[in-house]
């Protein structure tokens, strides 16, 4: 579903690259955590998938399409296949819960009748039944994030990108959000979640991709936040890894 082939992203020629020759593949329907310190390249990874930025070199394939060579008028179509959730929710404060979710459908030209059916359904999926007419400021942080998730998945994207979705939430609320993301993943959506939240990664036991200074230093299935295997310094690793796909 998402495939990086030797992707390098340089923002500033003088500084080290944000991503340095990263190659990895995330399968359809997978749930992957992207972990690593701030500045390790997690956000850059997500921006490249969304085509907010273009890779400096290498190929970024999303659903079989090379995003790097996508002409700008086709970018909206790419983004319709990707839902995004942020740490700060990014709801429209003057719109109700229903209107916030419906907005994502209105702006891509969906029919009113489809919106009337789809919005309550997706609100039910995220556990917000009966709160359609609340305003965002009347909701708790967890509920606001559920609205944001509902908005991200209402157009049934194949991929859901979550950039520290639990960063502003307390642990128990975070567990609720993770249950929602897991449910969405069970329905067949590929989920990629960048996070710092050790507890969540450890409790989910999903694939973990660890980035450090723009390199993938660990990529394990059913893993924990910190590796059980002692990590190898990136420089040595690059010399030795050669033919690794």
């Amino acid at each position: 579903m998402i495939r990086f082939e030797n992707v390098t992203k340089v923002y500033d020629r003088k500084a080290r690259p944000a991503l340095d020759s990263v190659s990895l593949e995330i399968q359809r329907g997978e749930f992957a955590f992207l972990v690593g310190a701030s500045g390790s390249g997690k956000s850059t990874f997500l921006r490249l998938v969304l085509r907010e930025d273009r890779a400096t070199s290498g190929g970024v394939f999303v659903a079989g399409q090379n995003v790097a060579s996508l002409s700008s008028w086709r970018v909206p179509r790419l983004r319709r296949g990707i839902g995004v959730v942020f740490q700060d929710f990014r709801l429209l404060p003057q719109k109700t819960v229903f209107a916030n979710v419906a907005f994502a459908m209105q702006v891509i030209g969906r029919n009113r009748s489809i919106i009337r059916d789809a919005v309550p359904e997706v609100l039910k999926t995220v556990g917000l039944e009966g709160k359609e007419h609340r305003m965002p400021h009347e909701l708790s942080g967890g509920e606001q994030q559920r609205v944001a998730i509902a908005r991200a998945v209402v157009n049934r994207p194949g991929i859901l990108l979550a950039d520290e979705p639990t960063g502003n939430l307390d642990p128990s609320t975070s567990q609720g959000i993770m249950a929602v993301l897991d449910k969405i993943n069970q329905n067949g959506t590929t989920v990629v979640m960048a996070t710092h939240d050790t507890d969540i990664v450890n409790s989910m036991r999903k694939r973990v991709i660890e980035l450090q200074d723009g390199h993938v230093i660990r990529d394990e299935a059913r893993a924990l936040y910190t590796s059980l295997i002692p990590s190898v310094p990136p420089a040595e690793r690059r010399d030795g890894e050669g033919g690794r796909a």
């Binding site: 839902g83 030209g109 908005r151 157009n155």
Partner: protein, 304 residues
């Protein structure tokens, strides 16, 4: 759905930005009024040309008592001189340029003079023998005045050859100057309008940056994101253009029609309906200005 959604976005954008929208309306209104005023002056010139060029003639004034021109050394024009001039007018070399001509006696000249200056006390102090007799020539092509002038100026008995068109040209050049001034002012105001529209669109894009960010993320098309902003500017400019058209119509209806036309009954002023011809042009110009400046602004300030 799309249409109602876009209309809703435009309405909310206009509501959030009322003061800026009003200023865009006023600036386009003033600038397009000046553009329209220049247009009206040009229409008026065309109208007067059409009206006068058929009537205006080349006049060959003949010598009277006390004429000092070189052709008048032998005193007032004689019967033979006058006949010779008439023969010359009939000769093929000249006749090919002449539509028709007639001879105006001093008495006729006096009658015309009295008519023209009916309201002026000058009439009482003028007598027929102070006015010269003349040949009034209507040319097939008014541009050929030079040929007539060269042929007749040096003839005996001719005091002077006057192209009445030149008198009108002086008036027209004044009017052309006025329309040039109007165009310059309009140009400056249009620059103001363009910059103001650009600023308004920037503000509008800034105040709705959350919405546009989400639109981008969920894959709204460029048109869907940008069209509300462009239309906001276009609507404001179009309102300004309509106001400008209404003002010009008012000027031609009440100022030209009711005031000037009564003072100068001989002059053919443009009618209000002729002024309305300018309205679609002004509206199109307003829409074009707003559309282009907002698209250029959005390209810089609204990433898609």
């Amino acid at each position: 759905m799309r249409v109602t959604f876009i209309l809703g976005e435009i309405a909310s954008g206009l509501r959030r930005n009322v003061s800026m929208v009003v200023s865009v309306i006023l600036v386009t209104f003033v600038s397009l009024t000046f553009v329209g005023a220049a247009g009206m002056l040009q229409l008026q010139i065309t109208q007067m040309k059409g009206y006068w060029y058929d009537r205006v003639q080349v006049a060959i004034f003949l010598c009277g008592e006390g004429s000092t021109a070189p052709g008048c050394v032998s005193g007032p024009v004689t019967g033979e001189q006058q006949a010779a001039l008439a023969d010359l007018l009939e000769s093929p070399a000249v006749a090919q340029y002449v539509n028709d001509y007639h001879y105006e006696t001093r008495e006729e000249a006096y009658e015309h003079f009295k008519e023209q200056f009916a309201n002026s006390p000058i009439v009482d102090s003028v007598t027929p023998d102070q006015l010269p007799s003349s040949f009034r020539i209507n040319l097939k092509d008014p541009e050929k005045y030079q040929i007539i002038s060269e042929t007749f100026s040096s003839q005996p008995g001719v005091e002077t050859v006057v192209d009445q068109r030149q008198l009108l040209e002086r008036l027209f050049s004044v009017m052309n100057g006025a329309s040039l001034v109007a165009i310059v002012i309009a140009g400056i105001m249009i620059v103001c309008a363009i910059l103001l529209i650009a600023t308004t669109i920037r503000l509008s894009a800034f105040s709705r940056r959350r919405e546009t960010a989400i639109m981008r993320l969920v894959g709204a098309s460029k048109i869907m994101i940008q069209l509300p902003f462009v239309l906001e500017g276009v609507i404001a400019a179009a309102v300004g253009a309509v106001l400008a058209s209404a003002t010009l119509w008012g000027v031609s209806q009440f100022f030209l029609g009711d005031v000037l036309a009564k003072q100068y009954p001989d002059t053919a002023f443009i009618s209000p309906s002729q002024t309305l011809v300018l309205a679609p042009l002004l509206i199109a110009l307003g829409i074009l200005l707003a559309g282009v400046s907002s698209i250029v602004t959005l390209r810089r300030y609204l990433k898609v």
